[in-house]
């Protein structure tokens, strides 16, 4: 379905009335290098020009494993159709679109941050970068949990791991099929993750039906010898609306 004109209709079904319509300025990029309707999602998500700081770039806190894998995937963005996702301090900077209209959610919360960028001090919180391969609907997240994400002493809080997984599912679901809200999430923890070590998350999109996106994820060590978690997530698809120009 070609949506170059950005149709405003929203298919909500029984979800109407549960969602807010915050005011977000659209970050539109109609004349992008991409062509089809799916690509218009990308062009909205990956702005060509921005002054926003991209947090998904190497910094001094990244361990060697993370730097090495980052380089490997960077090469793949040139050769095998992978895309590196930028990561801004707020989700509002990414998605220049509105949630379908319903209850108004007041956006006077002041400085809002996307949860996985809540701790802006280098190396202390979530250090991560996500790469996505549109043709195979796969993504990889390189994640290094910092000392502020501690659970058991010396190890990562299982909640922070769940958060990283939900976030990667969330971005993957959005780009693979406009998935917006988590419907369900199941995680099986196999091994504890030592603080500040590299976690590699491999995510695949399975079926997409009945307005739902089904995804699975395996989080493991770089050498794949240790599996940390296996998880699955289901996301709700929602057609987002372009905000009408003021």
């Amino acid at each position: 379905m070609i949506r170059r004109g950005f149709q405003v209709a929203a298919r909500l079904g029984h979800h109407r009335g549960l969602l807010g319509a915050p005011r977000i300025l659209p970050r539109l990029n109609p004349a992008s290098a991409f062509g089809s309707s799916t690509d218009s999602v990308f062009s909205r998500f990956l702005p060509e020009k921005t002054e926003l700081k991209d947090d998904a770039l190497p910094n001094a806190s990244w361990c060697l494993d993370m730097l090495c894998l980052y380089q490997e995937f960077l090469e793949k963005t040139k050769s095998s159709g992978w895309i590196k996702l930028p990561s801004f301090k707020s989700n509002r900077d990414h998605i220049g679109l509105n949630l379908p209209s319903g209850l108004a959610v007041s956006s006077d919360k002041g400085d809002c941050r996307i949860f996985t960028r809540c701790i802006q001090v280098e190396g202390q919180g979530f250090e991560y970068v996500i790469f996505f391969q549109p043709s195979r609907k796969k993504s990889v997240c390189l994640f290094q949990p910092g000392p502020y994400l501690e659970g058991p002493p010396g190890f990562t809080h299982s909640g922070s791991l769940a958060a990283m997984m939900d976030e990667t599912f969330s971005k993957t679901a959005f780009l693979a099929g406009e998935g917006v809200f988590t419907l369900s999430f199941n995680i099986r923890f196999k091994n504890l993750i030592p603080m500040s070590s590299l976690v590699v998350m491999d995510i695949e999109v399975g079926k997409i039906e009945d307005q739902k996106l089904y995804m699975s994820c395996i989080a493991h060590s770089r050498d794949q010898q240790t599996v940390y978690t296996k998880s699955s997530g289901v996301f709700l698809q929602l057609q987002l609306e372009e905000e009408s120009p003021q």
Binding site: G20, L99, D111, C112, Y148, P152, A162, E167, R188, L192
Partner: protein, 209 residues
């Protein structure tokens, strides 16, 4: 139970501060009343785990992991859910009923926990659910780790609103502790999410699976 000197100077974060909104304070007062006859207990919450509990964990974990937990690393770390300034992240307090084996968490999610604009991130909700059911399992089983977490999200939670996470120990099978919970609005009329979980009591030098 004796406390180490380190605990004496640690700040307890599970008490009202200026960022707590009216709903949270009201619920807090209601639960504090329940504590008066001893049937409920308020759990204190610190930024760092007290020294004696670290010893507990080390005993259980060193067997599994040949890497020793470095002392310098430990001094930099802090509990994830207490890594925020007042009102910006997780504002919460937990109350426990030993008789009912119930752990209730009153939770207010701040602007640094955003997911879809105006709503709390699914991962932040997962973190609080994990923390609540985890504490419930811990009260019953001592040193435990999360083995399985299954969450169904029914409705998104608006940022800065207050929810009640009501968790219950369902059963114990050997080393496995089964805990379920629901996340509701203050007036109990809205169900935001439901979750089930399994925690495993650690034995020294045994593997998780």
């Amino acid at each position: 139970r004796s406390f180490s000197s380190e605990e004496v100077i640690l700040k307890d974060y599970s008490v009202p501060n200026p960022s707590w909104n009216k709903d949270l304070r009201l619920l807090f007062d209601q639960f504090m009343e329940k504590c008066e006859d001893g049937s409920w207990k308020r759990l204190p919450s610190y930024k760092r785990i007290p020294a004696e509990k670290i010893q507990d964990f080390k005993t259980h974990l060193l067997g599994r992991n040949p890497k020793f937990v470095k002392e310098e690393q430990l001094s930099q770390t802090q509990l994830f859910t207490r890594s925020f300034d007042d009102g910006l992240g997780f504002e919460y307090v937990m109350f426990y009923s030993d008789v009912e084996k119930r752990m209730v968490c009153l939770f207010q999610g701040g602007p640094y926990l955003e997911g879809p604009p105006g709503f709390v991130h699914g991962g932040a909700i997962a973190t609080m659910i994990d923390s609540t059911v985890g504490m419930c399992a811990l009260m019953a089983g001592g040193v435990v780790v999360t083995a399985n977490l299954n969450i169904n999200y029914k409705r998104p939670i608006p940022l800065c609103s207050v929810v009640m996470i009501n968790s219950q120990l369902d059963k114990v099978e050997g080393r496995k502790f089964f805990v379920s919970c629901n996340v509701q609005s203050v007036d109990e009329k809205t169900l935001y999410s439901e979750a089930t979980s399994i925690f495993i009591k650690l034995n020294p030098a045994k593997s998780l699976t």
